[in-house]
Point group: C2
Chain length 345, copies 2
Amino acid sequence: MNASAVDGSARGVSGDDRISFDDLVAAIESRLTAAGASPSVAKVLAANCATCERDGTLSHGVFRVAGYLDSLTRGWADGVAEASVDVAGPSYIRIDGRNGFAQPALAQARPEIDQALGDTGVAVIALRNSHHFSALWPDLESFAREGRVAMGMIASGKLAVVPEGATRPVFSTNPFGFATPVADADPVVFDFSTSSMSHGDLQLLRAEGKEVPVGTGVDSTGADTTDPNAILDGGGIRPIGGHKGALLSFMIETLAAGLTGGAFTYEIDAEAPEGAHTFRTGQLFIVIDPERGGNDAYLGRVREFVDMLRDAGMDRQPGDRRYANRAEAAERGIPITDTIRSLLD
Amino acid sequence: MNASAVDGSARGVSGDDRISFDDLVAAIESRLTAAGASPSVAKVLAANCATCERDGTLSHGVFRVAGYLDSLTRGWADGVAEASVDVAGPSYIRIDGRNGFAQPALAQARPEIDQALGDTGVAVIALRNSHHFSALWPDLESFAREGRVAMGMIASGKLAVVPEGATRPVFSTNPFGFATPVADADPVVFDFSTSSMSHGDLQLLRAEGKEVPVGTGVDSTGADTTDPNAILDGGGIRPIGGHKGALLSFMIETLAAGLTGGAFTYEIDAEAPEGAHTFRTGQLFIVIDPERGGNDAYLGRVREFVDMLRDAGMDRQPGDRRYANRAEAAERGIPITDTIRSLLD
């Protein structure tokens, strides 16, 4: 483990220590295999965690390792699962994750997915019985790097969202994401929760004793509150955009759980053991080759669109900050946070 | 034209007059053909308008006929266009609307779409060079009635939305919609604009001299305003949910314009003639057979999900009001509004 001492202190890291991407992957891998994950599963999850950490998505970086370990050691998620891949049609891949993690299942099905994309220009990937405990963007970026557009959504499992009219939480924060390649540039890639605030941010604000804006969530009586405690303890988070966010969550649950055959958020909550941090649900991905059928101008036209947005003042596009962090990490290593330090100990 | 006089006065209609669905279709059809639409195009558009009117989506009902006529008589949209349908892959249908309307193009491509769904369980439908001047839900409901789930999105063409950071409108209100069949019930079908308010509602509030909530939009200097005039005259509408709505609009433009090969909203605005009410852009539909690959429990599980939502207090699900209006219209006819009356004159 070579933690290289270089100058600078990005991301509020107090020391100057940095670690290389490969060393960080290896460190996470060894913790995962020690907890019972197979080498191939550990490799995929470790690369995912290290990628999030490197790119500055710290909420889904090394911070998540404890949750993976927790699920593995409790026997809640299967660290040696081999997914079952069913080609339901030339463009339709259904995957049973067999209670393993989503990223290794996706990696395992990659040959069938690539075959569908190559043959037909379309891949609908319906993954069930799988734990997705990371951000969506790494899954999506990998498709965009190969010239595809990709959409992803998750029934993320934690009952947390109370739409207007509902007397109790009925949705999770239901992440949704999208990625597209762009001519002569990095792909545009984003994901977001369909709730007004993520569960993690709310916990952070609670820890800091801060209030949230009206409209963020409700207390256990269904009344608006600015107190993160009241929202987290028996209340609920509101969807984005009022009923529109609720409709989006409805669609995500229907597709990522119903269409995949995975668990709806309202079903999984009762099933997960006390203290479980990962949820066995479902994820849906729709991947399309944008140039299929002679649409050869696609990449250039999206580039012009993005250039227009920058010209109109939107100078930071989705992914820009991640790519900047990535470039810095390639040159100088990944800053060693306290979370990484405790992993290395 | 039999305007049957029956009792009742729904929807603020002062008189008791009602018209049957078929008579309304015929009345609209004759106006469209008189303006140069082919019989087959007029039939599809008239059925669409009458469906919206019957179901209470008055903003996209007979109210829209004037806009269709306007586009036809100016020669801006082609009322006799025959779409060119290209099967780009077993699950991938690309359609050139040839400057006609979207609904007739979709109807014309229906055999190829149904073939893709029957053969593969998936249809990606990329429609370009087409005017979509109605709601998305009728397109989507027709798929759900046949047991499919369907997602739709539109680069709707009117530059109106200013995301945070932007100095000018860069998106349209970019409608998005979804439909799913449900066991022993009508499908759940919805669409919504990804902006805080639709252009039509804003115009309505302006006409009524009303104010809008802070956050709805900005004036020409980019400052928050509660004045619909300031938003409509040189300002812009905000997306739903802050940057999340902007990301959704980004995706919709990228897919409904870039992927289809249609015009982005920022391109079309300059192209449309002064006073044009329809826009030649693109629309993307993704349709999936949810039972493909042995997911036979789908319909029942979605029914349980919807029942759970109703039990949690969300007693009005998307589409409920439309179905109630539809049932009433089937029994008693469609209420004759002033807009319908002027059509019949």
